[in-house]
């Protein structure tokens, strides 16, 4: 009973600071929406594809065909650049207004038709995924256009060999018709690649990514759960500084009960926060957390357990409010950054992915993404839950050991 009394006392103190309490719920929602929009959430944009500048210095039919092929891409959409824009194209790519730009040189069409080597200039930052994706699409479109022209040339060659053209005009007419036919065939090629994605959000996904909120919802949940430790940690510090802890130790409550009481309050605070954020994700963002309610519950509980244990440790180690803030925020940044809450671990090297998975944040992300993105079942949550539980036990044990020396 005393444990519960202590826990409710802590909760009362936490809730009394309603601004801090509101922050813990409002901020993750705001950031989920903000970053989710950034990553294409809601999908309501006019054209969510990567913008790619198109500077046509050729002006011929084939360069126009290239433009049409690029426009049919699911990943990029071309923006025709006027001559005046051409000077700014490097700046636009540099500043991210364009994912890339393609410059069609003068004589491009003629060179293709003549079977002479000709290249397109592509301006892209190959250090960015947008640049890499854009380059790949441009390459594919250019190859198909070249293929269409080559098909027409081969046809013309064969005709020349078998029948012969009356004149150059007849040949040109043959080639033009053949190119048109080939391009039409490329619009729906007989041999194609079908990209499919497993998981719950597959129908909303583009070929190169998932719906924006599916990543940011779990990531903000993880990050702001740790941020919330500031308030809880301060209660412990103030209890020591005001000598209330020393007074508590003169009563019939044991150190273990005191530790568990504080811990319970933190667990309840974090769980409440997670419940609200899961509900927000489910109802407002249409992320299907509740397709596996038991799995999500287990993940939430174990997340609350290890984060609260961390908070208990921070509160016991810190000597002042300032220390609590430093540690909570520093841990929030480090654990979130290394655990893949900011940038998915997929973009990092193998070493970093391994290091990242030494941290409970990465497992929390894995657990939630298994449910909401990959569409997996309860069994997919078991390993993440197990790892987080181990962290909870370890951190709590460390906190208890520390508590023996305090007061």
């Amino acid at each position: 009973m005393r444990i519960l009394d202590l826990a409710f006392k802590d909760l009362r103190q936490l809730v009394r600071d309603w601004k801090a309490a509101a922050f813990l719920v409002v901020m993750p929602i705001v950031f989920t929406l903000t970053f989710g929009f950034a990553f294409g959430g809601f999908g309501g944009e006019a054209d969510p594809r990567l913008p790619v500048g198109f500077a046509d210095q050729d002006g011929g039919a084939l360069s126009r065909s290239l433009l049409e092929m690029l426009d049919q891409s699911e990943t990029i959409h071309p923006i025709v650049l006027e001559a005046a824009d051409a000077d700014r194209v490097d700046e636009q790519v540099r500043e991210g207004e364009l994912a890339a730009a393609v410059i069609v040189p003068a004589g491009y069409g003629d060179s293709l038709l003549a079977g002479e080597p000709v290249g397109l200039t592509v301006i892209a930052d190959e250090g960015s995924t947008g640049g890499v994706a854009a380059r790949s699409e441009i390459q594919a479109a250019a190859s198909r256009l070249a293929g269409a022209v080559q098909a027409a040339r081969l046809g013309a060659q064969t005709f020349e060999e078998r029948v012969g053209f009356a004149d150059e005009a007849a040949r040109q007419s043959f080639v033009d018709a053949a190119v048109a036919e080939a391009l039409a065939a490329w619009a729906d090629p007989p041999l194609a690649v079908q990209v499919r994605q497993s998981g719950a959000v597959a129908e909303e996904a583009s070929a190169y990514g998932v719906g924006g909120f599916a990543h940011t919802s779990p990531s903000m949940m993880v990050q702001f759960a740790i941020a919330g430790l500031t308030g809880a940690g301060e209660i412990l510090v103030l209890e020591r500084k005001s000598r209330a802890l020393q007074r508590l130790l003169t009563t019939a409550i044991s150190r273990l009960e005191i530790a568990v009481g504080h811990y319970l309050a933190m667990v309840m605070m974090i769980l409440t926060q997670l419940v609200i954020l899961i509900a927000f994700g489910q109802l407002a963002l249409r992320l299907d957390y509740l397709r596996e309610p038991l799995a999500v519950l287990l993940i939430m509980v174990t997340m609350a357990l290890w984060v609260a244990a961390l908070g208990l440790l921070i509160g016991l180690i810190s000597r002042s409010q300032e220390h609590v803030i430093i540690m909570s925020l520093a841990l929030m940044f480090v654990l979130s950054g290394m655990g893949g809450a900011w940038v998915p671990l997929e973009y990092t090297g193998r070493a970093f992915q391994t290091i990242g998975h030494l941290l409970p944040t990465a497992w929390a992300m894995d657990g939630l993404e298994n449910i909401v993105i990959r569409g997996l079942g309860l069994e997919s949550a078991l390993l993440p839950v197990g790892v987080m539980l181990a962290y909870a036990v370890g951190l709590f044990a460390l906190a208890l050991w520390r508590f023996r020396k305090v007061g």
Binding site: A20, V30, F31, A38, F39, G40, P48, D90, V93, G96, A99, G119, T121, V122, I123, A124, E126, T129, V132, A133, S136, A140, A142, S143, A146, A148, Q150, A152, L154, G155, F159, E181, L191, A192, Q194, V195, R196, Q197, S198, A205, S206, V210, E322, I325, I326, L329, A330, V334, G337, M338, P344, E346, T348, G349, A351, F352, I355, E369, G375, L376
Partner: protein
């Protein structure tokens, strides 16, 4: 002189403070170092991302056909060993299940009629690429390679089809031998494509020549620096509240010193502290990560703008807070949120599908966003005239915050 005494006293206290040493210097460098480590797989010859290996399971249901074998052979080629680890499996269901279980990132399923479709002018087939939805780059690479091969075959088929159609329209019959000839000539042309009609890719001009690693770490370091400079400024200004609570500020007011001298000393101390912090962060990041921050004069201007802005915000926050109990909300809340908004572009700018322009605008609603903008421009080689508007905004906002904050503080301390 007393202004300087107060400033000196505050500086000593700041340098002895765990907060400044850890938060002001160690954490931003640590965070950037972590990201440097994270993206450390980037190749030194600057070809862009060098990812960890993607696990691929390939199911060749077209076992007897050359089409399937060619595709499998290309995927398993030694030259792709750094990117793909390809395992051949027998059935499609288990390959997809492996992706579902995250044992593989991609499954490539070649249909049994693939070669038949390749050799039949009317044939149709589709190669399935089944991916883990949380992965982007690996599946993109695999899909790109598969598409290139498939397009090669499709191009050959289209060439045959178009030639047959056109010749047929002219009354010329195209027999199988002729079709074969066309197909082979197309294939010969296609295999030589890579060298002759390739793209010439270059990075945007005017940016300083930097490695891909620096192009990623540079903006991150700029964002971290901005975030922690604003934290430091706030901490320095909030020490006034702490002094009020501990009684040293009222005591100071029993000595022959004016409020202006106290606030002036506070400002000088914060200014010097931030200059020191920025100098250390710029110096260490340039030396360790190789980040090029730009020419001295524009760097000095952006530094000045950011410092004035940060101190102004710090004084404003101090004037609005009632006591030090609220500092948790300030650091954990206001400053963290503003910092994250200010650097949003840094983390979303590189991802396909990002609404870059909108978030450029959103980030400018907070002072951090202007500071990040200034530093990113410097990294792109911006000169004085290019950073001047950003610096002007920061100075204006900073002075406005400072004025409001000082007026309120003076009334409070009166």
């Amino acid at each position: 002189m007393k202004v300087l005494d107060i400033a000196w006293k505050d500086l000593i206290r700041s340098f002895r403070s765990l907060f400044f040493l850890f938060f002001g210097l160690a954490v931003p460098l640590l965070m950037s170092g972590l990201f440097y480590l994270a993206f450390g797989g980037i190749s030194s010859d600057d070809e862009g991302f060098d990812l960890s290996v993607t696990e691929v399971q390939v199911v060749n249901l077209d076992e007897e056909g050359f089409g399937g074998q060619l595709l499998v052979g290309i995927l398993q080629d030694e030259s792709l060993a750094d990117l793909l680890h390809v395992t051949a499996v027998d059935d499609a269901a288990s390959a997809r299940a492996a992706v579902d279980r995250q044992e593989a990132g991609v499954a490539v399923i070649i249909p049994s009629d693939f070669t038949a479709a390749v050799t039949d002018p009317q044939g149709q087939a589709a190669v399935e690429v089944y991916c883990d939805p949380t992965l982007t780059l690996g599946p993109g690479i695999v899909a790109g390679i598969v598409r290139q091969v498939v397009d090669g075959f499709a191009g050959s088929q289209i060439a045959v089809g178009v030639a047959s159609e056109r010749l047929g329209a002219a009354g010329v019959t195209v027999d199988a031998t002729t079709e074969m000839g066309i197909a082979m000539r197309y294939a010969a042309w296609a295999s030589g494509q890579h060298g002759e009609n390739s793209l010439q890719v270059r990075a945007p001009a005017s940016a300083p020549e930097t490695s891909a690693a620096v192009r990623i770490i540079g903006p991150i370091m700029a964002a971290m620096m901005v975030m922690y400079v604003f934290y430091t400024a706030a901490a320095s200004c909030l020490s006034l509240l702490e002094e009020q609570e501990k009684g040293t500020l009222p005591r100071l007011f029993t000595t022959p010193i004016t409020r202006a001298e106290v606030l002036g000393g506070q400002f000088i101390s914060a200014f010097v502290l931030l200059v020191f912090q920025i100098a250390v962060l710029l110096g260490v990041s340039a030396a360790v990560f190789g980040i090029q921050w730009g020419a001295p004069l524009p760097v000095a201007l952006v530094t000045l703008g950011m410092i004035v802005c940060a101190i102004g915000l710090g004084i404003l926050i101090t004037a609005l807070l009632k006591n030090t109990r609220q500092t948790g909300v300030i650091y954990g809340g206001v400053l963290t949120v503003a910092g994250m908004l200010g650097m949003i572009r840094v983390f979303t700018g590189n991802v396909a599908g990002a609404s870059g322009h909108v978030f450029d605008v959103v980030s400018l609603f907070v002072p951090h966003g202007w500071a990040v903008r200034g530093w990113l421009a410097l990294q792109q080689g911006a000169g004085v005239s290019e950073v001047l508007p950003t610096v002007a905004v920061m100075l204006t906002v900073g002075v406005a915050f400072f004025t409001f904050g000082v007026v309120r503080m003076t009334r409070r301390l009166a």
